[in-house]
Assembly symmetry: C2
Homo-oligomer: 105 residues x 2
């Protein structure tokens, strides 16, 4: 288990509510969060590969820089809907999004 990933999960404010242990996520919860992290990472890749700033992307999406930062951090206040809409708006295809989710980017 790669420490960086665990740190990111903790940092992103995840806590599903009841299980007492340190990040005691069920397999589905873990899969969900990792799926979200994959989309967030891909969003950053898309942005950086175009040489765009978060502020520029925010304009493209009709949102704000802070929200883009949170999207890329897979913050708990960011939905998969938002990430998918953002990626599609930035020009990613449905197929690309699917591949990212399926770990087959």
């Amino acid at each position: 288990m790669d420490t960086t990933k665990t740190d990111r999960l903790k940092a992103a404010g995840w806590r599903t509510g009841d299980a007492a242990d340190f990040l005691g996520l069920s397999p589905e919860e873990a899969a969900f969060v990792e799926l979200k992290l994959a989309l967030a990472d891909y969003l950053r890749d898309v942005r950086v590969s175009h040489g765009w700033t978060q502020t520029h992307v925010a304009r493209l999406l009709g949102s704000s820089q802070s929200r883009v930062a949170k999207m890329e951090a897979a913050d708990s206040s960011v939905s998969i809907d938002l990430l998918v809409k953002a990626l599609l708006t930035l020009g990613a295809s449905r197929e690309q999004v699917g591949r990212v989710i399926a770990r087959a980017a």
Copy 2:
């Protein structure tokens, strides 16, 4: 363009707000909605292939029959988050979800 699909979009209460025309969705909006329909269809497939009722699935998900019906209808009140969480809870893998989204189910 297949009539059934258009009807489903209209029925699901879609209207992105401003474009005046009959379902005048931008390409991204259309891709987003179709992606959601694909997940909804897959959810129904999973349920039916197990021989489950919506009520049973609702119990498994900690939700209600009406909400499951709306999920399967890709109603505008259901998020992709909810569909993905539901599928993962019902045993679908991240890879399967990705393939459905990528139209490669």
